[in-house]
């Protein structure tokens, strides 16, 4: 059976599995739909959080990005894992102890204000939509590259699957399909990584092979990273492991982006909501622990894959006559992900990164997608990578769609517009909202906005500048008032959004105009500080919160059962 046959088979089997789980886990109550009845075991919740968190971008794009960034890639690695420490210590257990269904609901109760709740709903829906668009597109891209199905058809098929299990099973269905999806995606990521590590360094553990010596080729016996640095010096590129040198980001920018990603991670509603699904605050702490273990498994492998890909790419292609390129090169040339322009007409590939003179045009995603073929692995492994990419995209999309659905049905309708709704009516509305959100996501997957890449900076920047400060202060400072929280959120959002729109969307100014040298990707960290400062300042000049709110804060600080 060829690559396509295997891909059809494995993708079909995984989809059947997801649908089977959806039917088995269908729900009849709003508690089941919003928070899976709060009975998910910590280990399962950790796995579900891992799949929820690791998106198409983590799975397909991250290693390729790091491969071209070298040291700078650390901002993604630390940013997207370090946030879980903040989540565990500052947010997850208290939100679980609070014990209701959504993040805006906590904001509304803690800040005794429907206005604060509405601001939170708008932020949650906006963040989730910007995020989900990229996921639906990712599903379409995987379908088109591996199965040669039209991208749009791929988006619709993926949307239909999410639709089915999100509508039937709500949070319960999403949780257990995410557990299955985590298993698929991590196996699909690790098999090629282990194989390539063995090939290049003789060590089967990528995290160790990354620091070992190469076993063959022109640099045999030299440490892998040293060999890459040497290749970079020979090509006139900044060293791979070098930090803050010409051609790389500055120290302050790396620090600002890392902080914005950490804090943004801890403030993303679809991640926070996962910790409402366990039985107690204690289990919320343990499920963050498991989540981080499962995430770290992929995140410590990714930089190794990045370095392996770097060596493979340059050593097999640089100074190679085009007539002698390996088979994977010709296979992926047809997809347009890698292209050779023979600028000097000598028929030999010269590797370089200057857009004016380089002869190879490389899409970063190829570093993960073509890995199994570069390592000469059998066709079923290639198929597994396709299924892994789909699992990563679908699981994240489902988590985001649930946030949109619960924000609309629970926070807007049940609490503000139609408080008299019965539970059956609310559940129907929640399903309807989830279905509507899937349709909108499919629409944007087919007609992507021009700025999808920069909207990710938006999602993290806004999560950092809006939710994180007021959630943390809501738990750790009893004196923070509703006026302060609304003012802080608005100040943080307006500042961050204005900076990103100014520099990214409108393009009014380049890196030399950045404040303190901080790029739009990192500005959420400054937005967060502004939010903290405004919230604390305004609290001093406004009447203190009512006694019920102080009691609420005292209660969520104690473990479950107190």
């Amino acid at each position: 059976m060829g690559i396509q046959g295997w891909t059809y088979l494995i993708v079909a089997l995984t989809f059947l599995l997801y649908i089977g789980i959806a039917v088995w886990s269908r729900v009849r109550t709003t508690a089941g739909f919003y928070v899976a009845g709060q009975g998910v075991p910590a280990l399962a919740n950790g796995m579900a959080t891992g799949a929820d968190w690791m998106s198409a971008a983590s799975f397909i794009s991250m290693a390729g990005l790091i491969s071209f960034m070298g040291y700078d890639g650390a901002m993604y690695l630390m940013g997207w894992t370090g946030g879980y420490v903040l989540l565990a210590l500052l947010l997850a257990p208290y939100l679980r102890k609070y014990g209701k269904y959504t993040v805006p609901e906590f904001v509304g109760d803690r800040y005794y204000s429907q206005a604060a709740r509405v601001v939170a709903v708008v932020c949650a829906v906006f963040i989730s939509f910007t995020y989900v668009m990229g996921q639906m597109r990712g599903v379409g891209v995987v379908f088109s590259r591996f199965l040669e199905i039209d991208i749009n058809t791929g988006v619709v098929i993926g949307g239909a699957i999410v639709f089915l299990y999100a509508i039937l099973g709500g949070m319960r269905g999403i949780t257990y399909t995410q557990v299955a999806q985590y298993c698929v995606l991590i196996v699909a990521y690790l098999i090629p990584a282990v194989a390539i590590s063995l090939q290049l360094t003789g060590n089967p553990i990528p995290q160790l092979g990354f620091g070992s010596t190469l076993v063959e080729g022109p640099s045999a016996g030299v440490y892998l990273l040293e060999a890459i640095d040497q290749i970079h010096r020979d090509l006139g590129l900044p060293e791979y492991t070098g930090a803050f040198v010409a051609g790389k980001r500055s120290l302050i920018d790396i620090a600002a982006i890392t902080l914005a990603l950490m804090v943004g991670t801890a403030g993303l509603p679809h991640v926070l909501i996962r910790f409402y699904t366990v039985r107690s605050a204690r289990l919320a702490r343990w499920s963050v622990m498991w989540a981080l273990v499962f995430i770290a498994l992929l995140y410590t492998t990714a930089p190794a894959v990045a370095a392996f890909a770097r060596v493979n790419l340059i050593q097999t292609l640089h100074q190679t006559p085009y007539a002698e390129v390996p088979e994977w090169f010709t296979n992926w040339e047809t997809t347009g992900l890698i292209q050779f322009n023979d600028r000097d007409g000598d028929g030999v590939i010269t590797y370089g990164e200057d857009p004016e003179t380089r002869e190879l045009e490389i899409d970063r995603d190829i570093m993960v997608l073509a890995n199994p073929e570069i390592a000469n692995l059998p066709a079923w492994v290639v198929a597994l990578v396709a299924a892994g990419g789909l699992a990563a995209a679908l699981s994240t999309a489902a988590g985001l769609l649930l946030v949109i659905s619960s924000s609309i049905s629970h926070d807007l309708f049940k609490s503000i517009l139609r408080p008299g709704m019965s539970e059956a009516q609310e559940l129907r509305l929640a399903r309807f909202a989830a279905g509507g959100a899937v349709l909108i996501a499919i629409y944007f997957g087919i007609n992507p906005l021009d700025y999808v890449a920069s909207t990710v900076a938006f999602a993290f920047g806004l999560a950092a500048a809006s939710f994180f400060p007021i959630l943390v202060l809501g738990v750790f400072n009893r004196r923070v008032t509703r006026e302060a929280a609304v003012a802080g959120m608005l100040a943080g959002i307006v500042f961050t959004a204005a900076y990103i729109v100014w520099f990214k969307l409108l393009g009014w100014g380049g890196p030399e105009d950045w404040w303190l040298g901080i790029s739009p990707e990192g500005i959420g960290s400054l937005g967060m500080l502004i939010n903290f400062a405004v919230t604390l300042a305004v609290s001093r000049f406004t009447p203190p919160p009512p006694d019920e709110v102080r009691e609420l804060v005292d209660r969520i600080r104690l473990p479950s059962g107190h």
């Binding site: 890639g73 690695l77 210590l89 990354f210 070992s212 770290a296």
Partner: protein, 89 residues
């Protein structure tokens, strides 16, 4: 942890204070492992080698993540003990 907060941590306020101390210690380590060793000190640390890794680079792309996992594990364990003591009053 000192002997005195051991004796009265069944009181909710002492529980919260003991908890804040745990947070302070763990967040301090979190900051040092990521922003300290992985960013601020990366260049001097890169002069040292850990096997085939320049040390600063290793902290930035591997070590910090391992430290994060360790921190969340220690936190969950530590809080289990504080919770148990609070319930035992």
């Amino acid at each position: 942890m000192s002997a005195d907060d051991r004796s009265d941590s069944h009181d909710p306020r002492a529980y919260w204070r003991a908890h804040l101390r745990v947070l302070g210690i763990l967040l301090g380590i979190w900051f040092v492992a990521s922003f300290g060793l992985g960013i601020l000190l990366v260049r001097p640390l890169n002069a040292l080698m850990l096997g085939g890794f320049p040390l600063g680079f290793w902290f930035a792309q591997q070590g910090s993540i391992l430290v994060f996992v360790g921190l969340v594990f220690v936190y969950a364990r530590w809080m289990d003990r504080l919770d148990a003591r609070l319930s035992r009053d």
